[in-house]
Symmetry: C2
Subunit: 436 residues, 2 copies
């Protein structure tokens, strides 16, 4: 082992895993480190939060991915620093881990932009435990309101989502569907029409980066489903009883879903790496971190240039996957063809973006200026998400769940798994209730 290059990948998200996959079978020792022993398929987290899928449907044990790749090891642990002199990573409660090459793929954390009370009271939707905490919380509001109908006036059935990007739009749409199709049957003694969703977006449109057609379709569909759109509006304060908007309006609510943005994982700072906007690590055209030999950053934690301009690539799954694969191949080439310098810079191939509002209602901006809305976009969305889900078994159970929901208008695991409702904080390694 000792004379083989040791690549350490921090983070088992899209970027880290695709990097490791590209290195599977190479004459290189690879260790993937993550604080969780599973990978989370983040694009479907909102379905866990809205009782559409089980937690296990969107999570896959990392070790299971590398049964056939003896050169790829996994280590569950939390990195808290680095010793650049000895080139070793420092882990909580574990021996330091030496590396020859380091790939930082630590992803992002929720960005509350300093909004007062948000860190304490808002529900993020970035990790698996976030999704489960939100699911528990939403269902608890209905249980509580059935027992105490006067809670409606305190906003128990008012759900505010902040952020009009895909996550916010999808969460708002899925919440409405959960209420109208399932909870209306679960709670026949409650007037479900009292449950409402408010979507707050800072700009004057939802799905900002999408085509005009997609934006208009999405806004129309959201409104048609009874969602109040507050465009060109911001949340300035949140507490346990409501949110306050920049316009001065106050909405009584116990639920603020925070889909307003992310910033790079603070690990970038812990490692003493340079940082630019949003805490992201600036990288060169081949995703190397300048001034640190053999260190790369990929995915959400990296500030990857869009090429040609000063723009950065967005923090999206496809960028993460492609950048991870790129670095994996680069490191592989380094070892397998040591003389040949790899000079082709990373180039992102934009295969389009999609978002689902609900049953047979989605938008998809695809390559070749193909703009789909409605059922065709929805079917495309379903197909692609099933295809990209990790693990054949996950695909089957997700397919069963989706088919069931579509045919019966019923939903899956709307379980409130006990745990402290107050402890719904996201973050890196704190205690969390969880279920599903």
């Amino acid at each position: 082992m000792d004379d083989r290059t040791h690549v350490v990948i921090v983070g088992a998200g899209f970027a880290g895993l695709d990097c490791a996959r590209a290195l599977a079978g190479a004459p290189i020792d690879v260790t993937v480190i993550d604080r969780n022993n599973f990978n989370t398929f983040q694009p479907l987290l909102y379905q866990v939060a809205t009782s559409g899928l089980a937690a296990s449907d969107v999570s896959y044990p990392v070790r299971g991915l590398f049964h056939d790749a003896p050169n790829v090891a996994f280590r569950q642990g939390t990195v808290h620093g680095v010793d650049w002199d000895t080139r070793t990573l420092l882990l909580h409660g574990q021996d330091p881990m030496p590396f020859d090459r380091l790939v930082v793929a630590a992803g992002a954390v929720t960005n509350y932009f300093g909004v007062e009370g948000a860190e304490r009271h808002a529900f993020p939707l970035y990790g698996l435990t976030d999704a489960i905490a939100l699911r528990n919380h939403v269902l608890r509001q209905f249980e509580a309101t059935e027992a105490h109908p006067e809670l409606v006036d305190e906003g128990a059935l008012t759900f505010v989502v902040v952020g009009g990007g895909p996550t916010g739009v999808e969460t708002a749409g899925a919440l409405t569907e959960l209420f109208d199709m399932v909870l209306t049957k679960d709670f026949p003694r409650l007037d479900i029409a009292l449950a409402r969703v408010v979507l707050v977006e800072m700009s004057d449109t939802v799905l900002g980066p999408f085509s005009a057609r997609a934006r208009h379709y999405a806004a129309h569909q959201l409104r048609q489903r009874g969602i109040s759109l507050r465009l060109a509006e911001r949340v300035v304060r949140v507490d346990g009883t409501g949110v306050e908007l920049a316009s001065g309006e106050r909405i009584a609510t116990r639920t603020l879903v925070w889909a307003a943005g992310v910033r790079a994982n603070p690990l970038a700072a812990d490692l003493g790496l340079p940082q630019v906007g949003g805490g992201r690590i600036p990288v060169g055209p081949d995703l190397r971190v300048e001034g640190h030999d053999g260190v790369f950053a990929v995915g959400d934690v990296a500030a990857i240039g869009a090429g040609g301009s000063d723009d950065l690539l967005p923090q999206l799954a496809p960028v993460a996957k492609q950048s991870g694969t790129y670095v994996g191949r680069l490191l592989r080439d380094e070892v397998e063809e040591p003389g040949v310098a790899r000079t082709r810079p990373f180039r992102y191939r934009d295969k389009g973006t999609m978002a689902t509002i609900g049953r047979r209602a989605a938008v998809a901006d695809l390559p070749l200026r193909l703009r789909l809305t409605g059922t065709p976009a929805w079917v495309t969305w379903l197909f692609l998400h099933l295809m990209f889900l990790v693990g054949f078994r996950n695909r089957i159970t997700v397919f069963v769940n989706w088919a069931w929901s579509y045919l019966t208008y019923d939903r899956g695991p709307r379980l409130i798994v006990d745990g402290d409702d107050g402890a719904h904080r996201s973050g890196d390694a704190d205690g969390h209730d969880d279920g599903g």
Copy 2:
């Protein structure tokens, strides 16, 4: 509503739900109360604990069961007492709930029999959160041992199961299978042969109430799978580093699975009802609680006579289901045929018992003295458990999971969902980490 009889059922386990089912559609108002909003299919909890099934596969939202029964309501809440004068149940944080008839179906809790350290250090396996806590803990031992191989000597890979009944046997067998078929591939750098399971049973045989053939087959299969059987042995002390047996032997371990027995839910005491051995509520031949008009006890919380002798029926799922259905029908007859006194006493129909040790290895003692072992018993077990699972969707996903595991020797959701490993206590309403 006011002139209709109001039946309150405390507990949404097998007994409570089958009671409610028998009352569905009757001219009676029914309220089912449970501290969880879901029913747990307890016979398969050991598969959740051993990463075979997801938590959502063995849980079903109670409200979803009664969409077509407008007379059956659900209330998530915890009962802490009763006012017999006003015939109202007292709930934590909710208005008291009046009842005309009360069915106590609160089930059981783990019985530690006063063994020193057990309540604090042992892992029970009675509720969903127990199963998830055990799963997390087991997987964490392997992650920790890979990082710190010296932990093997401290017993990190030694798993002690106490109790040789079906739960203990099934858990021991499933743990071995998890190690030999899955974790050996997940942890190629660990010598999985170091992982061992010890099954401690007080009597001189496993599966005591089963036929001799079943007992011998089970003991043979367990031993063949490398499980150490300690028969006629007891655990007398447990702490964070090991267990001490009555013989004086000390086994270094961090994991003691407590499958040694249950006692009635302490709610029996909170309600001031009479109690006999194990805290169970004595009932008459028609499952009424003596001295309390219109109060019934069913399932694990009840001491139901076996008829003809002083023996009590065992605390098993079939007894719970049948006793629940009996009381449901009795209450229905009371209202639908008010003049006709129902006099036929409850009679338990023993349809046999089963236990699975592993792949194609099970025992089934069926009616007509049909004794199955091996593959026939295993297929019977699979079929009956699928049939009795609540919810068609659960059946499909469980079937997919089982078929997948059988064909690929792989397992499902071996996720460590974060949470405080120390907080693995069972019990009634405490905070819990959970996952799956």
